[in-house]
């Protein structure tokens, strides 16, 4: 209905993942990672979230292309 959920979903994860990745890059080897057993969880998980966000946005594009092939303009109006 109106808005493809994958757009906000993708953008949210791009933003969150992006923030975490950058923060993780700058804090590599920092003492804050003693908590997470010396794993730079911000960097690793930030990248995972980034990828997920990208995937969602890509799916939106392919879905749109698929729709324009298959459906008549009137159906797309809905």
């Amino acid at each position: 209905m109106g808005l493809d959920i994958r757009i906000p979903l993708g953008l949210l994860f791009l933003a969150t993942g992006g923030l975490m990745t950058v923060y993780g890059l700058f804090t590599q080897g920092s003492a804050i990672y003693e908590k997470s057993l010396s794993i730079d969880i911000n960097l690793i998980w930030g990248l995972v979230l980034l990828l997920f966000g990208l995937l969602m946005l890509l799916l939106t594009r392919t879905a749109n292309r698929g729709n324009s092939h298959l459906e008549s303009p009137s159906e797309r109006e809905k």
Partner: protein, 625 residues
Amino acid sequence: MSSMAVQFTTSLSTIDWLIMLVYFAFVLGIGFVLKRHVRTSNDFFLAGRSIPAWICGLAFISANLGAQEVIGMGASGAKYGIATSQFYWIGAIPAMVFVGLFMMPFYYGSKARSVPEYLKLRYDEKTRAWNAGSFAIMTVFSSGISMYAMARLIQVLHIFDGLFIHLGLPLDWIFHFSVLLSAVIVLGYIFLGGLTSAIYNEVLQFFLIVAGFVPLVWIGLKNVGGWRGIQRTLGPVYTHSWRGMEHASTNPLGTQWYALIFGLGFVLSFGYWCTDFLVVQRAMAAESQLAARRVPLIAAIPKMFFPFLVILPGLIAISVPTFTQHMVAQAQTTPVPGLARNNAPSNAIASYAKSIPIGKGLIPAKIDPVNGRVMMDSNGQPLLDYDLATPNMLLHFFPTGMLGLGLTALLASFMSGMAGNVTAFNTVWTYDIYQSYIHKTGTDQHYLWMGRMATVGGIVLSIGAAYLVTSFNNILDALQLVFSFVNAPLLATFLLGMFWKRTTGHGAFWGLLSGTCAAVVHIGLTLPADAAGVGIHGGWITVLHVYPSTMAQNFWTATWAFGISFVLTVGLSLVTKPRKEEELIGLVYSLTPRPSEGNLAWYKRPAALGILVLAMLVLLNLVFA
């Protein structure tokens, strides 16, 4: 809470705040974008019946994944072990398959706009009125409890402390601020975008909860030596879901297998998933009847694996060695926990508490809020505050940055639980109470306006409920007791209504009423062994029977409520006049043509999906038996 046994300080930094702010911006942003698509009351209350099945499916789980769920399941995991997963495996999946395959055609196909409205179509006005009224009250209280729990948690974890100190505001305001904040956000996005907005946000919340909890389980498992490490530390009773079920005294739930299967697996679970409008509403928003039937089935697949995300943190929390890296320094200078326990009821504990971990693993001992002392059970052992299992896991393992995401996930789960109740409330209020009894002839625009007002009203009432719970702690216990049986008699009403055309309105109404009374009487006559004494938990008429645990009492209360409702509905239906068959087409199984599944691909066919889900369920149970 400054004297909590295992004290974690929450110091949030800019990055954590940024992650939270990004999330809040998206939540409200969705509401603003969707606002222009809301033109009719149908758009607002039913999302225009245009949402794809997978989106509704994720919202279906998310709406149920509120505060009580995430915190409560972690707590039960720590307390009872992996047997808690029965609440998902036995207590949800079969019911979700049933509602998808057999009941959804009537909810969706009857064109009812709500569950109470189905009762009106199938039975009569009084049955609908009773259901609509009790449901509306229940949703307001549930959402109030969510609000209260969230504000308490924010207080206990000191999330806003730094911010408040920085701004020079009194720390006592944190509770009010938290209640207000959650109220404004949930109000904002539902007011603007209605059910669509709630569903979209629930999908966001679903992915956030997964994103926040997967790394928690990963790092946590690594710390305790994986599943094998947990098995070594906690032993077989904690790590097998069916061990010792032949007798109530040999398993942590304190119940036999047949009480578990009938009480939880049938009455409580079917009662909730098949009749509660909060979840059914998500499926009714789907774009077609076929999609609506697929919603609970799609939801069942991730639901099955949720124990690993929400229950496992509880088991990890209790297996983590109490002295870990950053506590070692303190531990060397303080007595061992065992010794501390022996001198327990002294003030010394409270003053030591910051450095002596008298809890177990990451779970601190319970502190009496009145005198600040550690609470003890009758054997002089400290009581553990299991509700802090999951939150303490986040604080223990997550560095700043990831912590922001973890807390956001937690807040998201609170808000999705609240929003689910608010959207169900505004629909039932507007369609089943306002339009049916107060103002019958309004325009569609009027009801759309009323829906928005009901959203405001529902939130204001929830805030009231949250403060009511704050001032009278017994209310919380009483409400949780009521929630534990309220759907049970209703299940009989629905099953008989959908699958026996002879059932009459009089039978249904009086059966339902008597079932509810039976539940109250049953609680009045029995007492769980773990209750402090005769009181709110039972026995206030007289004690005829003592159950081994509160859970066993819950299962049997529900079973009695269902049984009485079922028998009376059948009995009264046989002596009252049934409705004409042609009026019941589309409402009763035997009078409704089977929905054709045509030549769809197998994974789009509800029946095939249902079988797949059940097969996966059996497999999971075998692995963890």
